[in-house]
Amino acid sequence: MPPLLNASGCLDALAAPDVARSLDAFVTKTVTPLRRDGNAPVRIAEIDCGMLNTIGLANPGLDDFVCDTLPRLLELGVPVWVSVGGFRAGDYAESCARLDDEGVEAIELNVSCPNVESPVEATEEIVAAARAATAKPLFTKLSPQLPDVAAVALAAARAGTDGLSLVNTLRGLALDPRTLAPVLSTATGGVSGPVLRPVALAAVHACYAATGLPIVGMGGVETGRHALDLIAAGASACALGTILFRDPDAPARVRAELARTAFRLGLEDPLAARGLAHREAERPLPSETKIPAKVN
């Protein structure tokens, strides 16, 4: 079975330990070197087929995280991935160096910088700095808003990333129907939920073809079918994000649905579907599969 994780920022394992334990690994909210209170309210808004958020990387800062939060997370008995973020390569290196001695399973580099002038160079610099600072497995998380996400994934691969996390949110805006003012305090925010699903699939598809790296696929996954689609596009693991807000029981449900859906397609393990979207000769034939009227 492919590992099932949460998307960074979509779960607090200390507030909901049972939900964290129902995952194969827990991914923290992004930690930055210095404490951040995050953005002013309003921070979230529902939109058609998804939601917007502008939390603003609220986190206790690296010191407090390592000294106070991390020990409690490690006691939960679920592998911990730490998402790190920053504003320059040195921020990432500092965080990775600090986490190198800790019992974390992997580090996710939140390198979602669609607005920098040269994302290829910026990403390569950040990943290289992090790589030099730690021997932990590094997963580089990319924005789906990049003009050429595969080129940036290749840059991350050159700089030594072990895998990719695809995708972060898209930029979006929602207006109050009564006043036509932006709903969020920062006007725009990150789009997530079902609306992100085809975007995530396309990014996973492109980056798998370009790099062949392990990929944690995420973006609008609500059912086992959605997870299987990401795996067929090239993901080796899946993460749940927005669905956790509505359904904290989603991990067990999605895992069961994923196994059932793969089995109906003649696959003993859902991971056998990895990359099938790229290989016509190996794909199940429609005549050999029995898809019930309602799949998940």
Partner: protein, 230 residues
């Protein structure tokens, strides 16, 4: 331990401008007055937060003001429809107070109805925008009812332990008049259990999650700047 069920809808009963949404209790606990539940309206991505209004035997009942896509979908539910319900969540009112006074505004009367039931008769002052909205006061027998332009704060008697829920300006005004009041606040939230960090409000000078630290706070928890701004 989070408990989520999809109980059947028993009825949706119009109550003036509001509706009372009754669902089967299933294995869900009622929790304390002021705690809340996340209800997922059909067809929506995110659940909505509602404090418990009534706890009839075998049921949970929520007061709904159908003002948006989610709340309108909730009042259109039919008996027998399944409704995902998560809760109870958050911190509710402390009921161990010697001289309780319930102060509610608009849809904010919901948790006070359940609080009155648990306290067993407590005086209440309820304020509404219109006589149509004020019909919901029938849920709380014996309550004093005021309608705009009269405000509940004009009727507050001193020396009472105030439990209040209502629109933000009302809560700020109550906090000024009754510094020991317990206030039930509201903020947009995606999850209700600490996952999304969407419901951040400034408490004791720091942005904190209302779903975890609240929704009931004491007036002293609210930063002075906010009170002054009111």
């Amino acid at each position: 331990m989070l408990r989520r069920e999809a109980p059947s809808v028993v009825a949706v009963e119009p109550l003036g401008a509001y509706s009372l949404l009754r669902v089967e209790r299933a294995t869900l606990e009622c929790g304390d007055p002021g705690q809340f539940f996340m209800l997922t309206p059909p067809g929506r991505t995110l659940p909505r937060a509602f404090s418990l209004c009534l706890a009839p035997p075998g049921e949970l009942a929520f007061l709904v003001d159908p003002v948006g896509l989610g709340t309108r979908a909730l009042v259109e539910l039919q008996p027998g429809d399944r409704l995902p319900v998560l809760g109870p969540l958050g911190r509710g009112f402390r009921l161990d107070v010697p001289r309780p006074l319930l102060v509610g505004g608009g849809i904010g009367i919901a948790p006070l109805v359940y609080a009155a039931e648990r306290l067993g008769r407590a005086p209440a002052i309820l304020g509404f925008r219109t006589p149509e909205h004020a019909q919901a006061a029938s849920l709380l027998q014996g309550a004093e009812v005021v309608i705009e332009p009269t405000y509940v704060t004009e009727r507050l008697s001193p020396g009472r332990d105030v439990l209040a829920c209502g629109p933000e300006p009302m809560l700020h005004a109550v906090a000024c008049l009754a510094p020991s009041a317990q206030l039930a606040w509201e903020a947009p939230m995606a999850c209700g259990y600490g996952a999304c960090f969407g419901c951040a409000v400034e408490i004791r000078g720091r942005l904190r999650r209302l779903c975890v630290e609240g929704p009931v706070l004491t007036a002293a928890d609210v930063v002075p700047a906010e009170l002054e701004a009111a």
